[in-house]
Amino acid sequence: MEQEIALRVDGAEHRLTVDTRTTLLDALRERLGITSPKKGCDHGQCGACTVLLDGRRANSCLALAVGYDGSEIVTAEGLAEGDGLHPMQRAFVEHDGYQCGYCTPGQIVSAVGMLEEVKAGWPSHATEDLNLEEILLDDDEIRERMSGNLCRCAAYANIVPAIREVSER
């Protein structure tokens, strides 16, 4: 069973017909050729498929494409400003925040979405006082807030400083 949907991905409009079973991740990768969101576990556990979905970070492997007709999606590719890297992308390069690189697009998109959540004052499990107006984003906070992105090379020791640097700007 197929349905036609419209998606705006990294600023470009797309119209496509998809099987109702197609996930957003498969629509991006297999139908639109946008391969920066990666398929890791395909069960919402690893975070490699993370995109900004209508402005918020989400696992595209657990989203049915038909359910997001008309949505705006930003992938790691779309974060770049023309030929220049996004500050989070540059920080990952400078801090060597990866080894094999497979989880990296998901990590970067997730980190960008996460910093917006911090800016909005959202607490986390690592936040001592739920009623603080402003979040102090220390390393424990970064680790907790990024726990939905796994790195099998365990590059966390460099991922955390990369994110911290961007958060301090």
């Binding site: 919402g44 696992n59 049915l64 359910g67 997730s110 907790e144």
Partner: protein
């Protein structure tokens, strides 16, 4: 995945009517559990009715001083809501202790209540499981049952309910508002989820076609002195071994009122009414907290791999009540 048709209804009543006509149809909200279950062939609906944009996504004050949470409110918005943080902190903490940032952004309030167990045998379609395939047997009874129930289980199913949020809501005396073809009903959250008995395939008392529209929290002021504590195998992003949601009203060193619920121990969020009874009108101190926990856990029947959950539950209950009594 088995083919299915996808329907976006115009309103709640339309969604309910569509489901009523299709015995093998399912509501879809955030999909963070359902889509996974469909990929694995555990759940095989032939029609999906998308209700994500149909129910309310607002958190509103009720006239009685309580709070109404729309079924479509994402877990992350609920956790971050200022009113929830100050009036029902255990609920914020429970939500923040569950899943990941990505999942909380999508998972809804209604869907969180209706998520299925994470018992590995339920997800493994090559093994017997009475919850997935009634009558096939329970693989966990004699299998890997470290993560399974210690209270209220049956010979047919020893699975636990996975939600953190629901445990906090159980302790906070929430009501779940439901609409079906025959109208609306208001269910105390303690009655929403079932014990497995000989029908473990039924997680809740909801009938086919009934849709959760909102959850109400009561206006009890001492619920602002509430807390959620969770023991798990990783620091983050793991289901509970045991968790506790508690609220305590202490005056002059004596417990006036208490609310206590446990997660990770039963087929439903376990409201610890016996412990609450034992706590009331007694001095707020560690021996009494420990004794109350023991009274609740008297009926525990651990399995081969999970006897550790009994002392773990006792210790977490005691520590959480101590935290709450020292705060005042």
């Amino acid at each position: 995945m088995r083919p299915y048709s996808y329907v976006r209804a115009d309103d709640v009543d339309g969604a309910i009517a569509t489901l009523a006509e299709a015995p093998n149809a399912a509501f879809l909200a955030g999909g963070t559990n359902l889509v996974d279950l469909m990929k694995l062939g555990v759940t095989t609906p032939d029609v999906l009715v998308d209700v994500r944009r149909l129910t309310s996504n607002r958190i509103e004050d009720l006239d009685d001083g309580g709070l109404r949470i729309g079924a479509a409110v994402p877990n992350s918005d609920l956790a971050a809501d200022r009113k929830v943080r100050t009036r029902y902190p255990a609920l914020s903490q429970a939500l923040l202790a569950g899943a990941s940032g990505q999942l909380r952004n999508v998972a809804t309030t209604g869907g969180n209540l209706l998520q299925r167990t994470r018992c590995v045998y339920f997800y493994d379609t090559t093994t017997p499981c009475n919850k997935r395939e009634p009558g096939s047997g329970c693989s966990a009874l004699e299998g890997h049952n470290k993560y399974h129930a210690i209270i209220g289980a049956s010979e047919h199913c020893v699975a636990t309910h996975p939600s953190d949020m629901a445990v906090a809501m159980a302790a906070l005396d929430a009501f779940v508002n439901v609409r079906g073809a025959d109208g609306e009903r208001r269910i105390p959250i303690e009655e929403l989820h079932r014990l497995p008995g000989d029908e473990p395939q039924r997680d809740t008392i909801l009938e086919h076609g009934e849709l959760i529209t909102s959850v109400d929290l009561p206006p009890l002021s001492f619920l602002s002195n509430s807390r959620y504590r969770k023991a798990r195998e990783r620091a983050s992003y793991a289901f509970a071994l045991v968790s506790v949601a508690a609220a305590l009203d202490v005056e002059g060193g004596v417990v006036r009122d208490a609310r206590l619920a446990l997660g990770g121990v039963a087929h439903k969020p376990w409201r610890a009414t016996k412990a609450e009874e034992a706590l009331r009108n007694e001095p707020a101190n560690e021996p009494n907290f420990r004794a109350a926990a023991d009274i609740e856990l008297e009926s525990a029947e651990p399995l081969g791999d999970n006897a550790f959950k009994v002392p773990l539950a006792r210790n977490i209950i005691t520590r959480t009540l101590l935290d709450l009594s020292e705060k005042r």
